[in-house]
Amino acid sequence: MPPQLPHAEPGTPDTRGPLRYIWWLVRCQPWRVLRGGLIGTAWMLGLSLRPYLVARAIDDGLRAADHRTLLWWVAAIVVAGMGLAYLGIMRHRTMTFVREDASARSAAVLLRHLSRIGAVLPRRLAAGEVATVGGADITHTSAVLTMTGPGVGAVLAYVFVAFLLWSVSPSLAVFVLLGVPTVVLLVGPLLRRLERVESVYRHQQGLLTTRAADIVAGLRVLAGVGGRGLFARRYAARSQRLLAEGYRVGAVNSWIESLTIVVPGVFLAAVVWLAARMASAGDITIGQMVAVYGYVAVLIVPVWFLLEGGHQVIRGRVAARRIVALLNLRPDTAGPTSPGGGTRQAPDRPADLHDPASGLTVPAGRLLAVAADDPAEASALADRLGRFVASEVTWDGVPLTSIALDEVRARILVADHDSYLFAGTLREILHVRADLGDADLRAALRTASAEDLLDAHPDGLAMPVGTRARTLSGGQRQRVRLARALLAEPDVLILIDPTSAVDAHTEARIAQRLRAARAGRTTVVLTTSPLLLGRADLVAHLRDGRIVTVGAHVDLLEQDPSYRALVSRDNEPADVDGSLR
């Protein structure tokens, strides 16, 4: 039966080890696996049927010139062919279902885990690693399950053919039964070597492809600065080097491929010779001699299958180990981001946040701007206030770390200037709360002064946006992030450099609208832009990790020369402004 995917509930995987994990994937679908085993066995046994039937048709029909019998055997060949075709496709379907069920289950448990583990993840794991796990590793792990059904069948088929051969001639049987695995074991490593040589070549080919993609990605730069001829020549030189390498690979590989013809061929010749000798001596019939020739070909299938399967298990185990390792990643249990950490209630009304490390107090319900000399200090401050690191921060006098993390996340939002934008329509990206309608989204886009995004695209809110919103300009991305943060409507919103990539006109509009949109709620803006600072209720100047002055923007401009220097950048002769002087 085809599985229902995605699973309503993927279940709890056994992550004590790679093989236990694979076994879990089997245990989740025992009947399907059993079915695959039965059909796989039947199919492999069926493979040996055709040589047998052909032999009988020759011996009893053709040689005996018995037309009735011949007709019977020929009919049997056709029926067996159809039966085999049916078994073959049923086996393929069932095993596809088994593998797909396993893949979907792996993807689902990985997805669930990745979605829950949170901010700790990027620190522990390179994104490329997840791509490997989420792509090839899932497939390789599922491929192991192919062994469950037909693997059993392969062994049984081998035994069955052995039995058939034995009935022809015990000595021939011994020769064939030992010979076929020997040939496979001889040829297998050769093919494996072929694969290795090829993979080295493919790696170099991949590098060349990267070069071509690199040139294409830089075409606009080349168009602006020149140098196309140079790149064409350099690429051609590399291509020629790969060509030389390809010739070398071809010289070696063609010998290996030739051996894969000769080794089994010589073995087959030996079998034919032995069988023919017996036939000429009258020990076996002509039909039996032809059948032995057929059995050798049939035996190759299960033996080859078992060898391949062995490699699949080895590769799958490595892949499953990586999956298990990822599933075993836990948020720091003792640290600040532990899911359970903290039991106390968050204040049920707007309340002040206080950060002893810098001496900053965030007044409840106001728009506070923090101008930091060092942007690194600004983001460290945001991490403390948003409880992304352990700190002494208190909320209404209660230590932030003692409040349930989920509560903190629901009510305090740190909007990073590079917060992640997932692929989807604009509507999906902005839909951060269940109760939001299109009107809310439009209002937030207006506050972020991003209406032009809607006007520019015929699909409006349904416009597709790629991963990281690469299709948007830097300024557009930033405004979408701002709109999204506003839509989350947290009690405390901490914005890091929300307007650094937009022009002054737009920034002025955002400053004005942001203030109106967040009226009565607590908002912290980390910025050095005078347009934003000028709109804040209160401005704090963060210098060397401490708040040095607090007051209105205009007052600070007058009283704090270092603040003045920071926000108007007058002291930087090498600025663009300086350069244009």
Binding site: L5, P6, R50, V54, I58, L62, V78, G81, H92, A107, A108, L111, L114, S115, A119, L121, P122, G134, G135, R211, A212, A213, D214, A217, L219, R220, G224, G227, L230, F231, R234, S239, L243, A251, N253, E257, S258, G265, V266, A269, R277, S280, V290, D406, R409, V414, D416, Y420, F422, V432, D452, S500, V502, D503, P530, G534, S568, R569, V576, L580
Partner: protein, 586 residues
């Protein structure tokens, strides 16, 4: 919407024939060798048939030994012939692939920038990576397999004909169903497998991006939403896999059942012929064995058919890139080749007269711009998003041509300048930058091929690229692709160092620092200061400080220049600029 064309059937066929024609002798040798190898491969069943006959006739061990030895000899000959056939074929494939990829890159490099922008580099990148690789695999790996299989099949069936023409005819009974079901399958397979590949890639991407954005997922509590999105992707993968499985569920059993049919018919009909003494028992047995032997190459041929079809489609897309570059030499407006006017190196007068511009067939974004940029002046252009600032910058740089009106440098339309000359005189610096894979020297040299190491180091110094001091191998340090990656600011500095080397007299800065975070932006701005000295500079201003210090400021609103003058003049005039300046300066 892809801006790049796809070559039609005829072009593809001609290109394929050209590849073969370019290597005519190698192709002939390959075909002859494969044919010989296949003949050697066919001998064992025929010899087995001979053995059957000899043994039936009561021949002794000596005859059997002789025939068995002959089988062994044929196997060795088969191996040797196959080896050389493979080798020559492999070399042919390698050569063809190299020719294809080099021609592709050369054609891509010839594309005019307007075409690249219209198509998007994404589309071109896909063709350069996925399609070129697919064509390569097809030519190098798939074609040989198919050639071998086809040769073996024609010889196998030919051999049965030789045994007896009537046997040969009945051996073909399985073919009609196989041909019919294969055509049915191939028509549906490609879109189905492409959809499967795309869905699989999306699922992997869903997992990867969830990991990359884990902090955002936690901050905005998007966990449930991500799981929902991923579940949809899993469902999508399953739907596409079931679709391809459904195709195979028809294709495989029909083909497999068709294998048994001719064997049965040959035996039956063989009995009939045997009765009449028209064939020997050995001949019938050999025919049955040949048919048995045909299963494997037929399987291979059918299995690779889908891949070959995919290769052809990729080939059409690869060739399509070449077609686009042809109209490059002619102007879009007039369709005739244009004279390339050489330009002088002296700072010139950049003049815009009545320029109107629209993208594709959209509404005008610039409505009659008149502007004279004086040699050596610093001009700042300010205005709200969408006012047309970047469009104006592109017209000034000669990347786009106005729909109406003209942009000229010393009286010559900038789009009429020879591109290489134009680049030497006017450079456009945008947020975009690209570090090429290769050494630091490679990344600088293409801007000025004659530059000495000393000049390169000086250029890096001029843009205060202090990271240069940390590089282990100086100019020979490898950059990009797993080697050292430069951050956005460093990359932008590298781009500026290229400009110092290229030495244009007019610089157009289009928010060159807007995509950088504030600290980095400041560092880059410092680097810019070094570059702009002694040149005409047109800056799309992002921060008003820039405008404040420019010689003149142009305010662009809704595609029109509404204010133009020095900072002080505009502030005195009390217009939109003055209002903005006041709010900026508190």
């Amino acid at each position: 919407m892809s801006g790049l064309p796809v070559a039609d059937r005829q072009v593809v066929r001609r290109a394929a024939l050209n590849l073969i024609a370019a290597d005519r002798r190698a192709v002939a040798v390959v075909l002859v060798l494969h044919g010989a190898a296949a003949v050697a491969g066919l001998a064992p069943p025929w010899l087995l048939g001979r053995i059957v006959d000899e043994v039936t006739a009561g021949a002794g061990a000596a005859a059997v030994d002789r025939l068995a030895l002959a089988i062994g000899g044929c196997v060795l000959a088969h191996g040797l012939l196959a080896r050389y056939a493979q080798y020559v074929g492999h070399r042919f494939g390698e050569r063809s692939v190299a020719r294809l990829r080099e021609a592709f890159v050369a054609r891509a490099l010839d594309l005019p920038i307007s075409v690249i922008e219209r198509a998007g580099t994404g589309e071109l990148a896909t063709r350069s990576s996925v399609d070129v690789t697919t064509v390569g695999t097809t030519v190098r790996d798939v074609m040989p397999v198919m050639v071998i299989a086809a040769t073996q099949l024609s010889l196998l069936f030919g051999a049965i004909f030789l045994l007896h023409p009537l046997l040969g005819l009945v051996a073909l009974t399985g073919l009609p169903t196989i041909v019919a079901v294969t055509r049915w399958y191939l028509r549906r397979a490609r879109p189905a497998y492409l959809a499967e590949g795309a869905a699989t890639a999306e699922l992997t991407e869903a997992l990867t991006t969830t990991a990359e954005g884990a902090r955002t997922v936690e901050a905005l509590r998007l966990g449930a939403e991500r799981i929902g999105y991923g579940r949809q992707r899993i469902g999508q993968v399953w739907a596409t896999r079931r679709a391809t499985l459904a195709l195979r569920s028809v294709f495989f059993p029909v083909v497999e059942a068709s294998y048994a049919l001719p064997i049965a018919v040959v035996l039956l009909f063989g009995g009939f012929l045997l009765d009449r003494g028209m064939v020997t028992l050995g001949e019938v047995v050999a025919a049955a064995l040949y048919l048995q032997q045909a299963i494997e190459p037929l399987d291979r041929l059918l299995l690779w058919m889908e891949q070959a079809q995919r290769g052809l489609a990729s080939f059409a897309r690869v060739l399509g890139v070449g077609q686009q570059s042809e109209p490059a030499a002619t102007s879009v407006a007039t369709g005739t080749p244009r004279p390339r006017v050489p330009a002088s190196a002296r700072p010139g007068r950049l003049v815009v007269r009545g320029a109107r511009f629209s993208y594709a067939d959209g509404p005008d974004v610039l409505h009659g711009i008149d502007l004279v940029v004086r040699p050596g002046e610093r001009l700042a252009i300010v205005g709200p998003s969408g006012a047309g600032k970047s469009t104006l910058a592109r017209l000034l740089a000669g990347i786009d041509e106005p729909r109406e009106g003209v942009v000229s440098l010393d009286g010559v339309a900038v789009t009429d300048l020879d591109p290489a000359e134009r680049r030497r005189r006017i450079a456009l610096v945008t947020q975009e930058h690209h570090v090429f894979i290769g050494t630091l020297r490679d990344n600088l040299a293409f801007a000025a091929p004659d530059a000495s190491d000393e000049q390169m180091r000086a250029a890096l110094g001029a843009v205060s690229a202090d990271w240069y001091a940390d590089l282990p191998d100086g100019l020979d340090t490898q950059l990009g692709d797993g080697a050292r990656e430069l951050g956005a600011a460093d990359a932008q500095q590298l781009a500026l160092a290229r400009l110092v080397l290229a030495d244009p007299h007019t610089l157009i800065l289009d928010e060159a620092t807007a995509a950088l975070d504030p600290t980095t932006a400041r560092r880059t701005e410092r680097a810019l200061a070094a570059v702009v000295n002694g040149r005409t500079v047109i800056a799309i201003a992002h921060r008003l400080n820039t405008a404040h210090d420019a010689d003149r400021v142009a305010v662009l609103e809704d595609g029109r220049i509404t204010e133009l003058g020095s900072h002080d003049e505009l502030v005195r005039a009390g217009g939109a600029y003055a209002a903005l300046w006041r709010s900026w300066h508190g």
